[in-house]
């Protein structure tokens, strides 16, 4: 019967798969969706210029990428994890438990985090971290007392801001961007408004106060976006008063729809971020398993090519796309070529 033949061939395919799954000749990369465009630009150029096959690049978020990275050593684990934040102690420990001990940390450059609103909507041009904190925190300091956030419009706490309803679309907790937003904006705003001090005085421990500082209100004025920036863009499109958080590169590709807000008086551009004037920026990283160098063909070449002047330099295609190039790129280059692992430079 032909049916039996079909079944037999299907089984044969499954059997072949089990044996053929071992050999791998291309580099596999996963992780942050912020780093994904850069990694894919590098992977493409790498495939064009080298005899190695084009590396396989996937997204999924920094945490998810590092989790897969730490699953172990071997050909069915990924070689490189992209991250829009530094690896955490906890993750290093998890890695070590799975046998991933020698990790090379590579900083590729900086990314600006910008606040942007609808092109035809109200202009937000006087943001300070304190304003964002006042707008989004669950508890704020008002008249010297910590109260549940009473604000509904921006001008209630800063007369320079428009009289618009507060509505912010912030990245969800699985994004690396969220962490930078919490640290550089919310925590900074918490300090600046004096809420942090008031919390300590009210008898909170330092840790509790820090956690309370980076919480956001839950009455619907702060909306977590777990998807990508396109989702934030769609939300901004349908809410004229909404303000969204984007990566600089995303904003620069959508200047026909978005208007950027200044932070502490500085307009975010690659220049102002490189000079350190714009406060909300973060380094971008990728992590390489040293144990895979020499096993997976092209892995070291890929890492070196990524941080080469041609790619990550100030005139390279990554900077053109929106990466703020690292002034200390040459140090990174030598660290990569020496295969310096995280333990050795600590």
């Amino acid at each position: 019967m032909s049916m039996i033949k079909l079944t037999a061939s299907a089984l044969a395919i499954a059997a072949v798969s089990a044996t053929a799954a071992t050999a791998r000749d291309q580099v596999q990369v996963a992780g942050s969706s912020t780093v994904l465009p850069y990694a894919s630009i590098v992977a493409e150029a790498f495939g064009e210029n080298f005899d190695f096959p084009t590396p396989v690049v996937e997204s999924g978020g920094s945490s998810a990428g590092l989790k897969r990275f730490c699953e172990g050593v071997g050909e069915n684990t990924i070689d490189v994890a992209n991250a829009s934040r530094a690896i955490r102690e906890k993750e290093i420990k998890a890695c070590a438990e799975a046998g991933v001990t020698d990790i090379i940390e590579v900083r590729i450059g900086y990314d600006g985090i910008v606040f942007a609103s609808q092109l035809n909507g109200p202009a937000y041009n006087a943001f300070e971290p304190a304003d964002i904190y006042n707008a989004l925190a669950p508890k704020v300091l008002k008249d010297g007392e910590l109260v549940d956030n009473p604000y509904t419009t921006w001008n209630e706490f800063n007369a320079d801001l428009p009289a618009e309803e507060i509505l912010a679309f912030i990245p969800g907790t699985k994004h690396g961007t969220r962490e930078v937003f919490e640290e550089k904006v919310l925590a900074a705003g918490c300090e600046a408004t004096g809420a942090h001090k008031a919390m300590i005085e009210a008898g909170m421990s330092e840790d509790d106060a820090e956690d309370a500082c980076i919480a956001v209100r839950t009455d619907g004025r702060s909306v977590d976006i777990d998807g990508d920036y396109t989702e934030t863009l769609a939300s901004i499109d349908s809410n004229a008063n909404g303000i969204g958080i984007f990566g600089l590169a995303f904003y620069e590709n959508n200047t026909d729809k978005l208007k950027v807000a200044t932070m502490s008086g500085v307009t975010p551009t690659t220049e102002s971020i490189a000079k350190g004037e714009y406060p909300v920026s973060r380094p971008l990283f990728f992590y390489v398993k040293k144990a895979h160098i020499g096993v997976i063909p092209g892995l070291k070449e890929y890492a070196e090519f990524f941080v080469s002047d041609d790619m990550a330099g100030p005139d390279g295609p990554l900077a053109e796309y929106g990466l703020v190039s690292d002034p200390e790129l040459s140090d990174t280059q030598s660290a990569v070529s020496d295969e310096q692992t995280m333990g050795s430079n600590m």
Binding site: A10, P37, I41, P53, E58, D228
Partner: protein, 450 residues
């Protein structure tokens, strides 16, 4: 009724077939209203379908054309082959970055040749009009034809996505005011080049057959590789779901005893058909990737997951078409001495085949358009830039699938990718339509009614 006959002549009879009384009129009106509701419902559906198709075609058709620049490029020997010995190894050392100056020179020469004045102080600005894929295109040409170094060769290069968007009406002059990727002056040059005939928008086969590209060059991206991914997934689904599904339903329908166990199985199959597809994705991640260690993002795993999803559909439709074969056929076969198995395989199954195939094709079409289970096995968020180089690599190498590719494009920052997402939807719809039409034809042609 009796009144009418007992009091004649008083008035015309109250009820007549020719004259409608109130109740009949009300009933007729109710029927007319119901028909009107039905027509309204159908036309609302049709209006939405028309709107959807209109939106898809209007947004997606531009993806099928692409802007090309015809540029004469001098393959300068002093830059590409410094020692002049045409050694391929040495030529290979010049990376794509070494080819950029050639393109800038070529663009200048093209403008000068047509008498177009360049509005830029730095010739480097002209580079923004050309796709980032151009250096690789020229490098590949040089590596394939090292003997042509030193000559001037005419290349057809992709224009950058913003220039392409201008020709398609997506990018307006005022949009560029704050855009660092292109300036309004570039558009003046583009207009002049179009008048001179060296910049033209033509049909773009690379969109249908090409590979995906990185975010910096949407003009190069195509859906071809993910189409291959979908094809291999469908092979797996067809190869597994059809034999397993048909065998299971023949056993359940023809051989299995009717008892509590088979009832339980029947209920479970119906339930399985209603399980959300994402659940199969989680199952696939746990069983095929984490337990069986099959490769991530491979069409084989995608196919296995979709097989689980398609099985109930195939089983249910197969059982329905087996049931539709009248018992007299079985009785006749058994009557002339056929065994149970012979009666099923020689008589019942061939008669049920059109129904089985229809169910299979509809199940496949459903699997083809499915994205949710692929999310979890890593086929979404993946850059499908490598063609598989053989049957085994087609099943095992990471790949994307058409719906996943569309989702991926819709997520990307450059608006040019949005247009490509709509273009991809057109291809996916064409595939689905073809499959459904084949199913309808099979049913019309071969199905027998008793």
């Amino acid at each position: 009724m009796t009144d009418a006959t007992t009091t004649p002549g008083a008035a015309a009879p109250k009820s007549s077939l020719l004259q409608l009384d109130d109740r009949v009129r009300r009933r007729n009106a109710a029927e007319r209203r119901f028909k009107a509701y039905g027509i309204a419902a159908v036309s609302i559906g049709l209006v939405f379908l028309a709107l959807l198709l209109f939106a898809i075609i209007r947004n997606g058709v531009p993806a099928y054309t692409q802007t090309f620049l015809t540029v004469p490029i001098e393959l300068q020997a002093d830059k590409l082959d410094k020692n002049g010995n045409r050694d391929l190894e040495e030529i290979q050392k010049v990376s794509t970055f070494g080819y950029k100056p050639l393109i800038i020179d070529g663009m200048e020469a093209a403008l000068a040749g047509q008498g177009i004045a360049s509005p830029f102080e730095k010739a480097k600005d002209l580079e923004k009009m050309v796709s980032a894929s151009a250096p690789a295109q020229i490098r590949d040409f040089v590596l394939a034809n090292p003997d042509r170094i030193g000559e001037t060769v005419e290349f057809r290069l992709l224009a950058s996505s913003r220039v392409d968007g201008y020709l398609k009406g997506r990018v307006a002059r005022e949009d560029l005011a704050r855009d660092k990727n292109l300036d309004a002056e570039h558009l003046d040059v583009a207009d002049a080049m179009r008048d001179a005939g060296i910049l033209e928008r033509t049909f773009n086969w690379a969109f249908i057959f090409g590979a995906d590209a990185s975010e910096s060059r949407p003009e190069q991206a195509g859906i071809g590789v993910s189409m291959i991914g979908s094809f291999f997934m469908m092979l797996v689904v067809l190869g597994l779901a059809l034999p397993i599904g048909v065998a299971a339903s023949i056993y359940l329908e023809e051989f299995a005893p009717k008892n509590r166990w088979t009832d339980l199985i029947e209920v479970n199959i119906s339930n399985l058909a209603a399980v959300p597809s994402i659940v199969f994705g989680i199952l696939g991640l746990a069983v095929f990737i984490q337990f069986a260690h099959l490769p991530q993002s491979a069409p084989l795993v995608g196919g296995l997951v979709l097989t689980l999803m398609t099985l109930p559909t195939i089983i249910i439709s197969t059982r329905a078409s087996l049931k539709a074969v009248p018992p007299s056929i079985r009785d006749a076969a058994l009557g002339v001495g056929a065994s149970k198995m012979q009666s099923v395989f020689h008589h019942v199954l061939p008669l049920a085949m059109p129904g089985i195939l229809t169910g299979t094709i509809i199940g496949l079409a459903q699997a083809l358009g499915e994205t949710a289970p692929l999310l979890l096995i890593g086929m979404v968020g993946y850059i499908a830039s490598n063609y598989p180089d053989g049957i085994a690599s087609g099943f095992l190498d990471p790949n994307s699938a058409m719906p996943a590719q569309i989702y991926e494009w819709a997520k990307r920052a450059d608006p040019a990718y949005y247009e490509r997402a709509w273009g991809g939807i057109i291809i996916l719809l064409l595939f689905l339509m073809t499959m459904n039409i084949i199913a309808i034809i099979l049913r019309r042609r071969f199905e027998r009614r008793w």
